[in-house]
Subunit: 141 residues, 2 copies
């Protein structure tokens, strides 16, 4: 049985994890769980980030998204400096509880990405069969 990461209980059986009502998030070897943030208004996927147990607990307690910044190695209250606070409308867990889906309302200017864009997925992967190579092109929207 995987170890618990306080304050969350350790995962139970596969059946319990997949069909039960116990919230037993499965953090990875680095103590992180992947989180997809989508705009609660139109469902647009805004970003992918990670939480550790502390960030998840704080998110639940405050109703605002807290993440773990892997690049900075610190707890990250999203929007604390930019104003782009993500107020939690709903959090869902996936079947094996190793991913979370956050429906959020974004504060400030409504943006999300640190590049200034509304979301982080602003480039399309264009694959060229002839060369077998892929390039990126900036998306129109």
């Amino acid at each position: 049985m995987p170890a618990a990461t306080a304050p969350f209980e350790a995962p139970g059986s596969r059946a319990e994890t997949e069909e039960g009502e116990a919230f037993t998030p499965r953090f990875d070897a680095n103590g992180l769980i992947a989180c997809i943030a989508v705009d609660a208004g139109d469902g647009r996927v805004l970003m992918l980030a990670h939480m550790n147990a502390q960030a998840l607990a704080r998110t639940l307690e405050t109703g605002e998204a807290w993440y773990w910044s892997r690049s900075r190695g610190e707890l990250w209250h999203k929007g604390a400096t930019s104003g782009q606070i993500q107020r939690i409308v709903e959090i869902r867990a996936d079947c094996d509880q190793d991913a979370l889906l956050l429906r959020v309302r974004v504060g400030g200017d409504g943006g999300c990405c640190h590049t200034g864009r509304r979301d982080c997925f602003y480039r399309v992967v264009a694959f060229e069969p002839a060369s077998g190579r892929a390039r990126l092109r900036h998306a129109a929207s």
Copy 2:
């Protein structure tokens, strides 16, 4: 500079990674990149999974989603047994190229989750402030 994972080039500078047109996916220490699959029709988030470089290359070449199954430790052609093939409509990379967003059309019965449901996010995290504990409840939709 992070090592390249063949057949993809290694990431360049931060500016190149964030604003450039070179596709330089950043695989993690386990050689994986997180992938969000959404239904190309209505934008619903279906699942979160991972690809290694081989799975990503095969996805680009075939136009169908291939993942790396962390639980089974093997390449995973999504839908090969269930019929729930994910045909790629579009792939996007995020700002720092460590996450992918796949817009897919799902074959077979249109489902995605191995539990038989359309998507993997069928339970809502319900936080109880009084006890400080969270439970799951099955979502209506």
